[in-house]
Point group: C2
């Protein structure tokens, strides 16, 4: 199936306040998040490369030792195994892209 | 460099009416396009997997033998070596994600 619409994909709350619709290809996972203001992800790592895109709202992201408030137009690349954490400053829409596929998100 | 903003990335017109800002990671390329209404991409293929996200506007995309008008919320996955073509129905903002890196876009 090439063509899809996000509204046809079931939303799942994987972490309290973090609800995602997932698209998996052969080599990548795209996670379309809706995040509640105040929801937080504790520091974690994974082998997957990740790219964070803020679509709407403000999110405070820590990558390694650097913390920034990111907004639409900001793009953050997180290399394999680099620790990261975050908290939603406002309600947010975020698109995360991972390589390879996040098998744990299937 | 983990944190970046699209306004700090040089925009390049790779095809008439298609201007992109590119972000490359070790394994992926993200192309943030601004497309003029009426601009067209002729049918082409590449070995890279591709995922198309319409951020704004309407784009008519053909993948294989199927043509659809796609809008925000639509996501299109294009497998390796599948022919595709398109034309912007309105001015558009599109995010294309490729694996592996588009070396021709560096």
């Amino acid at each position: 199936m090439s063509f899809m619409n996000l509204k046809d994909i079931e939303e799942r709350e994987l972490v309290p306040g973090f609800r995602a619709r997932m698209v998996h290809t052969d080599s990548m996972t795209l996670a379309y998040w809706e995040v509640d203001a105040g929801a937080a992800l504790t520091k974690h790592t994974h082998t997957h490369e990740q790219v964070v895109n803020v679509i709407q709202g403000v999110f405070e992201l820590t990558v390694g030792d650097e913390t920034r408030r990111i907004r639409p137009g900001d793009v953050v690349t997180i290399a394999s195994n680099v620790a990261h954490a975050g908290i939603a400053v406002t309600d947010c829409r975020i698109l995360d892209i991972f390589h390879p596929v996040r098998e744990d998100y299937r």
